[in-house]
Amino acid sequence: MIRILVSREPIDPAAEMAALEQGGAVATFTGLVRADDGVATLELEHYPGATEAALTRLAEDATARWPLAAATIVHRVGPMTAGERIVFVGTCSAHRQAALEACAFLIDRLKTDAPFWKRETVGEKTRWVEARAADDDAAARWR
């Protein structure tokens, strides 16, 4: 019922959502690469092994806090372009409140608790994306 995948392959949200249908309510979040400030490509680096372990721990935390029938976290790594899917998070529970809250919990905490790093390319220049205080605040509300 917990599914964790870190992959260089494109994310298939329809297949992921269908696999989550194990109860009365499914909630999902899909993050796309934004074209902010002319960002053309994004490269995602991660810490193999530790990343999967961190995501598994997050999903286990969610299933301990809410009565979930299923929880899925899929995160893409490697190079991708603006508009492509970078992350998919989904939860299934008997009722909507648990599914919606757990889904928000997973994406908020993923941003601060999982070892991924984004590098943007704008024109000829590349830069590492800075962590945002707003993401820390969003994660902190679940502690």
Binding site: H46, Y47, D113, P115, W117, W128
Partner: protein, 83 residues
Amino acid sequence: MKLLYFAWVRERIGLPEEDVTPPAHVATVADLIAWLTPRSPGHAVAFVDPARLRAAVDQAFVALDAPIGEAHEVAIFPPVTGG
């Protein structure tokens, strides 16, 4: 002890990983960073501001004042930016 570096820490040091044997007085992650800083000009640039660094000991996220003990693997990296 195996050290892993990620993102701009890796780029500044110019290595994804290295093996080191710190002396006994290196007790915490912060001690380890201070001990590594003079190792090369790249290390010095990567570690110039430890407040911008995060770490994991044997793949568990820790604060910089955490002990390294008998750790096999210590990772040093910038704040994470996934999602």
